[in-house]
């Protein structure tokens, strides 16, 4: 499979995603510069972490206007699996592919540390190889990861099973102490209604080798293998 790794000016986890896909998973990856208008027929789209355009405005607020985003939106609507990690998640929120918004972390500080997240749903292209309730040890590195949405949106997310990851203890308990940034409902990642677009703040691509502290993130990238847009496997998994 071919992953398109979108590169915005200021992306800085683009090479990490590329390395994980190409050298750990052994799949194909291509960088797509933000000024391009095509994703070159990639099977999966990955919006990496970083500080797109410096993020001096709201995070991801300028990146959504990059020419490549029209292609990303078209691909998302056509059912192509789209994964936004950290800043990539923030861009997905800004462009409306996912609902909600990010606030500064509740203690107003940048946090870089390993956290635990619980997999809430396995019916997305990025979690179908995981077990429901599985706890993953993944790094976070962000200053604006405090997920927020109005109550009616939150209700819809919860009702529709769109909360994909929640911050939890190592034992899988969702507690306030295990929540590193103040996100509502301990939300670490969500998906859209069609379930093919997933965004999360933790970095699965940074946790693909035990040498760097954890390989729990592999399951996220591995899940999508063999999941072509509209293929039967995804529907089967969700049943």
């Amino acid at each position: 499979m071919t992953f398109a790794v979108v590169v915005f000016p200021g992306s800085n986890c683009d090479h990490d995603a590329y390395h994980a896909i190409k050298h750990v998973l052994g799949e194909d990856a291509v960088f797509v510069w933000h000024k391009e208008t095509s994703l070159h027929g990639a099977d999966v789209v990955l919006l990496p972490g970083g500080f797109s355009h410096g993020d001096y405005l709201r995070t991801g607020a300028i990146a959504r206007f990059s020419p490549v985003m029209r292609a990303v939106e078209d691909a998302a609507r056509a059912g192509t699996p789209v994964l936004g990690i950290c800043n990539g998640f923030q861009v997905l929120l800004e462009c409306g592919l996912l609902p909600g918004a990010m606030l500064r972390n509740r203690d107003l500080k940048f946090h870089c540390e390993f956290v635990h997240v619980r997999v809430e749903r396995t019916d997305t292209p990025f979690t179908r190889a995981a077990r429901e309730g599985q706890v993953l040890r993944l790094p976070i590195a962000h200053g604006d990861g405090n997920y927020w949405a109005p109550p009616e949106t939150l209700d819809a997310l919860e009702r529709g099973g769109q909360v994909v990851f929640r911050y939890a203890t190592a034992a899988g308990e969702v507690t306030d102490e295990a929540n590193p940034n103040g996100s509502v409902h301990g939300i670490a990642g969500i998906c859209n209604e069609a379930r093919n677009v997933v965004g999360l703040m933790p970095h699965p691509e940074r946790a693909c080798e035990t040498a760097v502290g954890s390989d729990d993130g592999l399951v996220v990238l591995r899940s999508v293998l063999g999941t072509m847009a509209g293929d039967g496997a995804l529907e089967a998994a969700s049943r």
């Binding site: 000016p9 200021g10 800085n12 986890c13 090479h15 990490d16 390395h19 994980a20 050298h23 510069w33 000024k35 972490g49 970083g50 500080f51 355009h53 410096g54 993020d55 001096y56 500080k109 940048f110 946090h111 870089c112 540390e113 790094p139 590195a141 200053g143 970095h203 691509e205 940074r206 693909c208 080798e209 040498a211 760097v212 502290g213």
Partner: protein, 754 residues
Amino acid sequence: MTSRTEGREMTIDAAVLERHGVTRDEYRRIVELMGREPYLTELGMFSVMWSEHCSYKSSRVHLKTLPTDGERVLQGPGENAGAVDVGDGLAAVFKIESHNHPSFIEPYQGAATGVGGIIRDIFTMGARPVALLDSLRFGAIDRPPTRRLVKGVVAGIGGYGNSIGIPTVGGEVMFDESYGGNPLVNVFCLGVARHDAIVKGVASGVGNPVYYVGAKTGRDGIHGATMASAEFDEKSAEKRPAVQVGDPFMEKLLLEACLEVMKTDAVVGVQDMGAAGLTCATSETGSRGGVGVEIDVTLVPQRETGMTPYEIMLSESQERMLLIVRRGREAEVERIFEKWDLHAVRIGEVTADGMLRVRAGGEVVAEMPNRALTDEAPVYRRPMREPAGHDERRRIPSDALGVVLPPQDVFLQLLASPTVASKRWVFEQYDHMVRTNTIAAAGAAAGVIRLKGTRRALAMSVDGNGRFCLLDPRHGAALAVAEAARNVACSGATPIAATNCLNFGNPERPEIMWQFAEAVAGIGEACRALGTPITGGNVSLYNETDGQSVLPTPVIGIVGLLEDASAVRTRVFPAAGLDVVLFGENLGELGGSEYLKTMHRLVRGMPPALDLARERALQALVVRLIGEGRLASAHDCAEGGLAVTLAECCFESGGVGAAVDVPAAPSDGGVDTVIATLFGESASRVVAAVAPGDVAAVLEAATAAGVPARRIGRTGGDRIVIAVDGARAIDCALGEAETRWATSLAHWMEGRAA
């Protein structure tokens, strides 16, 4: 006359010279080199290039004595950064630099631009920056201004490094009253390049175009270098405009664009515009290449209107570079910068006459030999004198020690001292994992990054101990080299090269100059003995406020090479049931120790002895044993001595305690023997965990290497138990000790419950 040439009409009098920090003698020298009186613009250019910060005029004679050669050295001092061979055709390009003065005036931007400046030095050489370390010194933590500075500096370092995507993989933070009015912010950056891709800051090829790339020039930072060459007083806050503002996003674009351009061979030379801005970049590239450079300041992209040539030449606006491009290849270079939406403007060309000629349109506004600004800068042999009372200070007044607390109380107090306590509050604000190379994270003694595509890894550590250097600058500086190298060795890497950042007070005072010269001598001795040549660095003088100098603080950065990345070790005991082995000898030396400072508010005594041959043998042994897989963990003994070291090995292990029994050390001048044994800071010691089956082989290897070593106990249990000569001195729940250590800094910084 137009404002553009205002520099020509102004008379240069004593007041003008004083404002520029130029002495009468220096002015006479300028007139002599020019063959005429300089214009104001020219005086400004001389003043920044001849400032202490740029010219090293007080330090140069001493720095020349440092060892700079070695079989791995590809680039020694004199370029933007040093470079050493690390195998597989790769080079490690690294340097450390200070940003002390700006960080005091405006902590966030001062620290941020310090990070930005050193990163530029590295990619200027054609290397991709892959790791940052910081060595920080602040005043007493119980003073509110200190906490404001810590918060600002840490946020500034994070704000820049996190955004640009270079991991901060380690560093150190220490606190002492002497840094209260003058914090130290030293930033180390390491990059990786292929040998044949290293680019130098040399202009060559008459007729080659000179390009200005990156951010526009504004009025920020004018005379930054001059500011960094003077003491602080109550008026320093007025100098705030001389601190630049950083834009990590701009630098990220510049970094990617420059590395892309340097992959072509369209670029002859590159220099970043840091201190002294355009003046420094043009004159240094020109003088290194033995050529002239001619530029037109009206072509320089400007952020503000009405800037004079004086302001343009002296601006220290950030995120700017000077490129010397091969003639005929201009379009290729411009295309790449355009892709990254950056300015790339041809502002001049290389000439044959060795002159730096600055035009404003048709008019020449400054003209002098490049060498006059650089090689001809004054060199001072400043007078030196051992400080009065120096011998007295080196004696521990045992009568002043007062009541000695029980060892366990001392232990818990030391663990909570901000210098010893966990720095998690700091390093969690830094992205230490981006680039997915970090295999020994922040909080271990050395930062270790793997080199993707090879089996190897690089370890790096920055260390310095101002107290030791106050008590004996030569010896204290050698101890800093030894400690940095030992930290690197404890990760399993062989130390291969060094960089230094020398932070001292006013060199015009003979006592300070003496400290400086002694420290440089000590660094030289240690680097020679340990096989770690100095490939570059930085000198920061005038670290004084209201006549009060900081502790003499040479900070040493050591880079080490780990042949097999998978063999990397950290300080943490990985399991229960391992034997604990202590390498080295415990001499119970308390001079300059954290114990004396924390418990008795004293900086007295002789710093620990250092036998460099024995130190080298110890490091080689540790590296070899780690390579053979015989050490499960390794940790250097430093602040707080053996007791604190052992505790640190237990911390973050997931609850692996330890019980050890050590022989009493010889008593140090009437000090309690148990205290000296537990908290003395003797050098050349390492605590390691060893599988019981390997202990005999490990001890045998130590004997063969001439390194004292003994098994002192075993890991396991949920307590830290330390006995001296069989008598239990410390017996403490690991959880209690770890909580003290882990929460102290956050408690100080945020008033959270400890």
